[in-house]
């Protein structure tokens, strides 16, 4: 079976297109829809089967800190509309859901119930606007990821959920201490239709995570690494992996059992183009 090719980084592309430091990317759904659509189209032309909407921070809790309080429905609706225009050729629109930025105890005082309400509001807005599925990403607290899955499932759309892990001395964990395989199993048991990991690590590291997790996960597994490690330069942030090296690791991930692959921070349409070529090559073997 041919692996599904997701898109690459959106935030880093918008920064390259002029998004100012400190500004929430969600503003651009109103101010520069054409620039977002251009990024979606670039990924589709490069071979993506699916694009993520520009709604990573579009849950009500996070919108409130970005000057967009009370505009959850509007922001998500606009973003889906932009992605839908770009996907008229038939690619899928994934309604993107990111963490709220509000912490559960002991780090914060937010309750699971508050998180769930926020996610439900966003998921409903995405569904109502016509997203094809919900894609939850970059979660580091399993409890928050589960709250998002439950809220997304209430829409009856398919749900993909991805957490962000790092290798520590005693294994692979989120920064909150949630271990790789048990977390993914818990998410699948909670009803997620696909589970996986994104961000934080390089494609080489992520290929090893796929090898570790794939034998234990019964639903499709996704992997969206960064374009290597961020390197900070006086001009801003650059990532150190080449599209070629990334594509080699995509082959390793697909062969190890990843059913969906894509890129996270720093990846560009060129990374996706080369990943597409790799996927076709692996599928022919």
């Amino acid at each position: 079976m041919r692996a599904v090719l997701l898109d690459g980084g959106l935030g880093s592309m918008l920064i390259a297109a002029g998004l100012e430091a400190g500004r929430a990317p969600e503003w651009w759904n109103f101010e520069h829809p054409e620039r977002i659509e251009a990024v979606h189209r670039a990924y589709l032309e490069a071979g993506s089967d699916l694009v993520h909407t520009n709604t990573f921070g579009a849950n009500p809790l996070r919108l409130a800190t970005a000057g967009l309080a009370g505009r959850c429905r509007e922001v998500n609706g606009a973003a889906v509309e932009i992605a839908r225009r770009a996907c008229e050729g038939g690619a899928l629109v994934a309604g993107d859901v990111g963490p709220t930025g509000h912490m559960l105890p002991p780090l914060g005082t937010t309750t699971v119930d508050q998180l769930q309400r926020a996610f439900r509001e966003q998921a409903e807005a995405l569904a109502e606007a016509g997203a094809d599925l919900i894609s939850i990403e970059t979660m580091s607290d399993l409890r928050e990821a589960l709250a998002a899955v439950e809220a997304a499932r209430a829409t009856s759309l398919a749900v993909h959920v991805s957490m962000t892990f790092e290798r520590r001395r005693r294994g692979v964990f989120t920064i909150m201490g949630d271990p790789l395989v048990p977390s993914l199993i818990a998410l699948a048991e909670a009803g997620a239709d696909a589970v996986g990991f994104n961000c934080s690590v390089t494609s080489a590291e992520m290929a090893t995570m796929v090898r570790e997790a794939a034998p234990f996960i019964r639903v499709p597994l996704s992997a969206q690494p960064n374009a290597g490690q961020p390197r900070v330069t006086p001009e801003g942030v650059a990532y150190d992996a080449s599209p070629e090296a990334f594509a080699r690791d995509v082959a390793a991930m697909v062969e190890a059992g990843a059913a969906m692959v894509g890129g996270c921070c720093g990846t560009t349409p060129e990374f996706i183009r080369q990943a597409r070529a790799t996927i076709e090559r692996v599928a022919k073997r």
Partner: protein, 218 residues
């Protein structure tokens, strides 16, 4: 072990376990028994937080354990600080304004650094998250800051650290600038003209000491 050593050990464990109620209670007990506040800090709290830092390095502790350890330390400091000021009114190592840069709502790392700086003897004003450059500068002036600490957790908000470095230089204030945050490194700190950089909360205390730390007799 002497009674004092038992008490110090209990303080250390309270911090390590992130037990803020026990840490506060033991700090009160220390003062009641006539233990100098500085001794309780140096022999109880500091070893506790150091050990928590080691467990983080070893992959045994995660963010929740590290933060609750810092919170326990803070609870004990709330009790000890007044006594510390009484013992030596000029004991502050320096005055620090700390915050996360504008557009960045991440709070945890910055709060951890602020807690450890204040536990180590700095006088800290924590401005919270998403602090505009102008407010950093205004607060540095009002507060008479020796040091401004600015955290950025996103590659999209890091450029605000550069703006802050320029604004502080332009303001003519004496405050030095330390930067930190997950995507930040020494190269970036140097490139933007910051005075210091630390890659974790314990290192931040050492760097702050180097940059502005004054001796108790200063």
């Amino acid at each position: 072990m002497t009674d004092r050593q038992v008490l110090f050990s209990a303080l250390r464990v309270a911090v390590l376990d992130g037990d803020d109620a026990a840490a506060g209670r033991l700090a009160t007990q220390a003062l009641a028994e006539g233990v100098p506040a500085l001794e309780a800090i140096e022999q109880g709290l500091v070893p506790g937080i150091r050990q928590a830092g080691q467990r983080w390095e070893e992959g045994e502790y995660f963010l929740p354990e590290l933060v609750t350890a810092a919170q326990a330390m803070k609870a004990a400091m709330m009790v000890l600080q007044p006594a510390l000021d009484r013992d030596d009114p000029s004991s502050s190592l320096g005055r620090v304004v700390i915050g996360t840069v504008e557009g960045d709502i991440h709070d945890i790392g910055k709060t951890l650094v602020g807690t450890l700086l204040s536990a180590s003897g700095f006088t800290v004003s924590d401005e919270g998250a998403s602090v505009p450059v102008a407010r950093f500068v205004a607060r540095a002036q009002e507060f008479g800051a020796d040091l401004v600490c600015a955290s950025a957790l996103l590659t999209t908000t890091m450029p605000k650290q550069r703006e802050l470095a320029a604004a502080l230089k332009g303001s003519g204030l004496r405050a030095k600038l330390m930067v930190g945050g997950a995507p930040v490194n020494k190269g970036w700190a140097d490139a933007i003209g910051a005075d210091g950089y630390a890659d974790n909360a314990l290192a931040a205390v050492a760097v702050a000491r180097e940059l502005v730390g004054r001796g108790a007799t200063d």
